[in-house]
């Protein structure tokens, strides 16, 4: 990029001057992504597709799936909206509507049917554990201060002391009182067990009233208030313990110094040692930068949710809502990611279900709100271009065969005459085949008659031609694809390891250089794109293993070569660019990335196009034993 300075400021506009279609897509892609990044805060539900275009460039339909990426909070909002509508329709308190929906397993039709057709609506409500009279607008009356022996909490069996009133809580419909401690503990246990239909704890006779969110809100607020009050004590306790920790720390480091040298180490050495320690610990942290970040965020979210019993309850309700509709909602399978993807149908009238889509050897590839790519059907990390069935078969094959094959490959050779598999278990290089009695040399596999020395062979030139239909030929075919598959897997893992480590360096440099955080976003984008393409290349070998010989296969192989070329170029750029120069090379990164994306899209298209020929489709399916 000779004219890179020109692009520094606003490459979006300058690119169009060059006029190549490649550059155009670079603009589109980069622009789109940074926009998404900015919008991330308030994502409005947006329809996305499992494939970028509705047909390939040669006109083959891709039958893409429509979906949207959601987070749990958005699902909660969606439920709240649903409950609100129901509440307006039935003229019923919001909390009661939620209980109705829960007891009906979110089956709104049946609920409305029953509600409209029943003779006595209050009976239906009571049947589902809902109080039939309207709640007052202020439910603070549920909390009472009680004194005197005659009041007893039948959970802890305690009565308030005459001098010290206790707080009690009860549901509006039954007024069965329990102390607030016991009540919230009861709710917490239900929350931990992810139970969303919570009964009144009263048992004599059994009370079937259900706790509603309106009532829960009162208790939740009260508990939160009472936790806030004794805060002074807590901070005091913390100060003391911090001091204690410091003391403990000093003691232990003293011990260390004596242990290692038997002498007091001088200040200078001590500093050095500490620096080293710091460096290793930073490396440890950085090692899995993103995993750690995701985990931390998850923990923060969890602690936010666990803060009140109401928020935790809502979290459980939202999760339960997704769980009861497994065909519609799927959780992202990445560790510590709790995004949800909602299925919205297809943009093609010809198919109606995921099963149908899969049977056409297409992949319902989705991306969660955190941009993790996975397959909506088999819940595996993205495995394009392989259809799910191939993944299943391939994994099975690797499990069954690879160990045996590895061993055969590394420990045996074929008899050059009859192709029996032979293991050399000792002795010299003069072999005689037990099957056909052929005399040959173990090293060059040539006729032994040309050899004069038992221990040396001057004719070794590697393993050459073999019959196409021998066992080894098919093993070798498999080994070829397996090796490439494995190489890509290893490169993928190594790249990820190195690049993510690198990324935090870039962040540091960005802060030092005083440029905006936005300026470094491209780096992460490039890393993600590279890793995704490596993933695609990896699976392409499993795919090609099953693809029968046909004209389309050559096209796929050509496109695969194009993609792998771009991937290696980007990978090389990453390796060759020192951290300090990454920001300056932004233009080159984006350029190679965009051409890689073009190659990737082209490659995935050819993988779909290949099945436009029905005979290829049939023999492919036959190889996989599917009809």
């Amino acid at each position: 990029m000779s004219d890179s300075e020109e692009y520094e400021g606003s490459y979006e506009y300058d690119n169009s001057d060059e006029g190549s279609s490649l550059e155009f897509s670079d603009v589109d892609y980069g622009d789109d992504n940074s926009l998404n990044e900015l919008e991330h805060e308030d994502t409005h539900a947006k329809v996305m597709f499992s494939f970028p275009t509705s047909t390939t460039s040669s006109g083959i339909p891709t039958h893409r799936m429509k979906y949207q990426a959601l987070c749990i909070d958005e699902i909660q909002k969606c439920i709240e909206q649903k409950v609100k509508e129901l509440s307006d329709l039935l003229q019923l308190d919001i909390g009661k509507c939620l209980v109705l929906l829960l007891t009906y397993g979110w089956n709104e039709h049946k609920l409305l049917d029953d509600y409209v057709n029943c003779k006595e609506q209050s009976n239906l409500l009571l049947e589902h554990g809902i109080y039939d009279k309207a709640f007052p607008s202020n439910l603070n009356c549920l909390l009472t201060k009680e004194t005197g022996e005659e009041v007893i909490c039948s959970i802890c069996c305690c009565s308030p002391e005459p001098s010290e009133p206790m707080s009690f809580f009860s549901l509006f419909g039954c007024r069965h009182k329990f102390c607030t401690d016991c009540y919230s503990h009861y709710i917490q246990t239900k929350n931990e067990g992810s139970q969303v239909i919570i009964d009144c704890p009263f048992s004599d006779p059994k009370c079937t009233l259900k706790v509603t969110t309106l009532e829960l809100n009162v208790l939740s607020d009260f508990i939160e208030e009472s936790i806030k009050q004794p805060k002074e004590n807590i901070t005091q306790a913390k100060l003391i313990s911090e001091d204690e920790i410091k003391q403990l720390y000093n003691l232990s480091s003293d011990e260390e110094q004596f242990d290692s040298n038997g002498n007091v180490i001088n200040q200078f050495d001590d500093d050095k040692e500490e620096n080293e320690r710091e460096v290793t610990s930073i490396n440890d942290i950085v090692y899995d930068f993103h995993k750690a970040m995701l985990k931390r965020e998850r923990e923060e979210l969890d602690s936010k949710r666990n803060r009140t019993i109401l928020s935790k309850y809502w979290y459980n309700v939202s999760n339960q809502y997704c769980m009861t509709q497994v065909k519609r909602f799927k959780h992202c399978p990445y560790p510590d990611c709790e995004s949800v993807v909602e299925f919205l149908g297809f943009d093609s009238d010809n198919i109606a279900s995921i099963e149908e889509q899969i049977s056409l050897l297409l992949i319902p590839l989705v991306r969660c709100g955190r941009k993790h790519q996975f397959c909506f059907a088999c819940m595996e990390v993205s495995h394009a271009p392989c259809p799910c069935k191939v993944v299943e078969k391939w994994k099975q094959k690797c499990e069954d065969d690879s160990e045996t094959l590895n061993w055969i490959q590394s420990n045996t050779k074929d008899c050059p005459k009859c192709h029996s598999i032979i293991e050399k278990n000792g002795g010299c290089n003069h072999m005689s085949c037990t099957a056909c009695n052929y005399q040959f040399c173990w090293l060059c596999l040539g006729d032994w008659s040309s050899h004069t020395n038992n221990y040396r062979c001057d004719q070794y030139k590697g393993n050459d031609s073999l019959d196409g239909d021998s066992v080894r030929a098919s093993l070798e075919r498999y080994m070829f694809y397996f090796d490439h598959f494995n190489n890509q897997r290893i490169s993928h893992d190594k790249d990820r390891e190195i690049l993510e480590k690198f990324e935090s360096r870039i962040r540091e440099l960005q802060i030092k250089a005083g440029v905006s955080w936005i300026e470094t976003v491209f780096y992460k984008e490039c890393v993600t794109a590279l890793l995704e393409c490596r993933q695609i290349l990896k699976w392409s070998y499993a795919f090609l293993f099953y693809v029968p010989k046909c004209r389309g296969k050559q096209l796929v192989e050509a496109a695969q070569w194009q993609l792998s070329d771009k991937v290696e170029r980007l990978s090389k750029l990453f390796a060759d660019t020192p951290a300090s120069e990454v920001l300056a090379c932004k233009k080159s990164f984006l350029y190679i990335k965009s051409s890689m994306i073009v190659a990737q899209e082209k490659f995935l298209e050819t993988c779909i196009d290949i099945f436009a020929d029905p005979t290829t489709m049939i023999s492919f399916k036959r190889r996989l034993n599917i009809t």
């Binding site: 305690c158 503990h185 246990t189 239900k190």
Partner: protein, 160 residues
């Protein structure tokens, strides 16, 4: 929460039980090897109702209170291989008030529990079989069922 709700509640249950409990029943904490009381594990006995094939015997139970008691129900078990359609081979009882997902409520007392179990003895629930022999006999051959129950009774009979 600093309060040990479980122990508090169990102590109260114990107090209540000693003050007043139904005739023929017993329930008490076990003793550890060193003689100390183990409040979290109890033994109990439930008498068969008079006028039923279970009468004149007291059937032993073990009760263990989990950490989350009383939010979660205690585990109540008969001896292994106890003969009853709703008792698993391990002795675990299949009863709705002992099931957290069903009818357990934190306010259910030990007395209510044991009375419920006494009720279950002579009125098994054929819809929730927990062991094969007793359930089959109860459904198919009442004579054999009665014979087995009566022979089991001898093992636990009240000898005065």
């Amino acid at each position: 929460m600093a309060r040990d709700l479980r122990t508090e509640r169990i102590q109260q249950e114990r107090k209540q039980w000693r003050k007043d409990h139904p005739f023929g029943f017993y329930a008490k904490p076990t003793k550890a090897a060193d003689g100390a009381l183990d409040l979290h594990n109890w033994t109990a006995g439930v008498p068969g109702k008079q006028g039923t094939i279970w009468e004149n015997a007291t059937y032993p139970l073990t009760i263990s209170f989990p950490e989350d008691y009383p939010a979660k129900p205690p585990k109540v078990r008969f001896p292994n291989n106890f003969y009853h359609p709703n008792v698993y081979p391990s002795g675990t009882i299949c009863l709705s008030i002992l099931n957290e997902e069903q009818d357990w409520r934190p306010a259910i007392s030990i007395k209510q529990l044991l009375m419920g179990i006494q009720e279950l003895l002579d009125t098994p629930n054929p819809n929730s079989p927990a062991q094969e022999p007793a359930w089959r006999a109860f459904q198919k051959s009442p004579e054999e069922y009665e014979k087995k129950v009566k022979s089991q009774k001898l093992q636990y009979s009240n000898k005065n």
